[in-house]
Point group: C2
Chain length 366, copies 2
């Protein structure tokens, strides 16, 4: 057939993933080191998987009573319940009052994709999205594609080399009223009580809609409650918000991309309306969500012994990360590198900001 | 807090799923029977799962060498390759020429969601979608939400009680030039060579873009090749198209919602451009796709012994469905029900059109 391709005007897209690793591999330096893995690595150089996950996966595969029927559109009910309890605490008043709920989502972007679709249709007056984080957040792309105006702010203070809560408050004071505020990874940001009160009051008076991101509860401080404390604060004060709760990283099942779009509303009635609309979008996005990741997580969260093992494994990972940070600091000290490197061990979490300047070599991206 | 909810204008959405089953359960008739399950049921009343799937699931869970790193955005490479070979045949010229490819997608709607997003951006002149099938297709909702004008056509001939290829050709003659044509479940439509030629020539001359749906290859006739023969015909003649290839139903892993958006292009160069753009949308939709379903399917498709077992299990299901249809026909004959019921056993596939009139009771939906 000699006809023209219907795709003749489609150019190759700019590559989004893997480019940093590719450049690293092409680099012929003998002292190179890759510091930007997306997953926690074991000492053997493999992605970390909680041991209890392996055991649970096997138990599920061996279970002859399980059926593999489609999950409901909203997802696995027990998974949603267990995840909400993990986030807000087992005895959360908001859970008792049934004013927090969720939809089982797919992948790392699913919660933002779903939430953004809802906000675009049902909160038409919210046109601006402000993303505040101490790292690049992918969700900007999603909101931008849907026609929102997106601003991104970093809370990193490059003089004091820390996540700075006063930058957070300052940003809040300057963003437009009626914005959607995506609050990314800020677990390192240590607010004073005074700063918290100020923050809450600005969000309320400027009618800002918060959209939290909890990418790896438990992997910041090693303490599950500590990592979601600020969210519990918001919900106890009656704020309404969305939250992307991802559960792939803290269980080490990166390849199952599973989580919840959490909805906090003023009442159960409002919650049910929002969830029912979200299910319409789910139907169009992916239909019924995949079950494996959710089954593994639910089995662990609902079994006290397995839950204990998992919590312990999280602590182990966090301690190991801290140990690596200590070693880096010590090495820099021994080398007599000028400056103070205490900021390295002051930071909790899976990420570490070294505060080094980059030497640009060839194609090294910004 | 006494403030108004930001969700106060959000109504409850019309329920999309489960309403038929709900009404059935509420019906107090003692002779009621539910005929609209979405999955194949075993005699024990459980959703059918190919035995070889259970075995493979266990092997995967036991494999200590597997790592659970994020899959690439485009998905599991070996899964895509194996699925394309299943669809087009191992020795397909189009596969050799690398002008067919695919993206690993999530859920039953994922391929249409992804394909529709691409067509909306890159084929702006295609504004009309015509869906032709012998059942209701959910993808209409997806295209409609994105602003396409959607027309739906049935090939069911209610006089002769069969899927009628002449209706298909007639529809094609009347739809607007430059339409997207979604070709749903038409495996029951037995085209003559003449009708095929006519169909191809209309599609070409009216610059219609075909978007096929292969929801359960092998469950129509029990023969994998037979079920995708018409697609091989299209690709061998150099047509460009999209195809939603779902692999959940024919492996009995309904709860893993896994498949491929298949792209057939004129050349490898065009294909690579299209796939690269699709990956941009994947990044925003769900990020990296879940792996379990794809791993199970790949393990089976790439192992001749397991593949043989699976093929055999498909034949078993199809024979069983045919047996049920025979029994229904025989029962109607024994009861002396007026009319001919041969159309019941003339139909292949998981669905059966009885040609009964509904007695509307209370809330029974249309």
């Amino acid at each position: 057939m000699t006809s023209l391709s219907v795709f003749r005007d489609v150019p190759i897209a700019q590559k989004l993933e893997g480019s940093l690793l590719k450049i690293y591999r092409q680099d012929d330096s003998s002292v190179k080191m890759f510091l930007a893995y997306k997953v926690c690595m074991t000492e053997g150089g493999h992605p970390w998987v909680s041991l209890v996950v392996r055991k649970t996966r096997l138990q599920i595969a061996e279970d002859p009573s399980l059926n593999y029927e489609y999950l409901p559109l909203a997802g696995l009910k027990s998974f949603i319940q267990a995840s909400l309890e993990l986030l807000f605490g087992k005895h959360s008043q908001a859970i008792v009052e049934k004013r927090v709920g969720g939809v089982h989502i797919v992948g790392e972007s699913g919660a933002f994709q779903l939430g953004a679709q809802f906000l675009k249709i049902w909160r038409k007056n919210l046109k601006t999205v402000c993303i505040i984080s101490c790292q690049n957040e992918q969700c900007g792309l999603i909101f931008r594609d849907m026609g929102f105006t997106v601003y991104e702010y970093s809370v990193w203070n490059s003089t004091d080399l820390c996540s700075d809560p006063s930058i957070f408050v300052e940003v809040l004071q300057h963003i437009p009223a009626g914005s959607i505020l995506v609050i990314g990874n800020i677990s390192d940001c240590r607010f004073t009580q005074n700063q918290w009160t100020k923050l809450m009051s600005i969000i309320k008076s400027k009618q800002i809609f918060p959209f939290f991101d909890i990418p790896c509860q438990g992997l910041s401080t090693g303490d599950l409650e500590e990592d979601s404390k600020f969210l519990q604060h918001f919900v106890s004060l009656g704020f309404e918000f969305f939250c992307s709760q991802s559960l792939s990283k803290n269980f080490g099942i990166y390849d199952e991309g599973v989580g919840i779009l959490v909805v906090a509303a003023l009442s159960n009635q409002h919650l049910l309306c929002v969830i029912s609309q979200l299910m319409d979008y789910v139907q169009a996005l992916w239909g019924n969500p995949p079950a494996t990741g959710a089954r593994i997580i639910t089995s662990i969260l609902c079994n006290p012994a397995l839950f204990g093992e998992w919590k312990q494994s999280l602590k182990g990972v966090v301690e190991n990360i801290m140990l690596i940070k200590e070693k880096v600091k010590e090495k820099l000290r021994l080398l007599g590198t000028p400056g103070s490197w205490n900021h390295i061990t002051r930071q909790s979490g899976t990420h570490g900001y070294l505060g080094l300047n980059c030497i640009l070599r060839g194609l090294f991206p910004k």
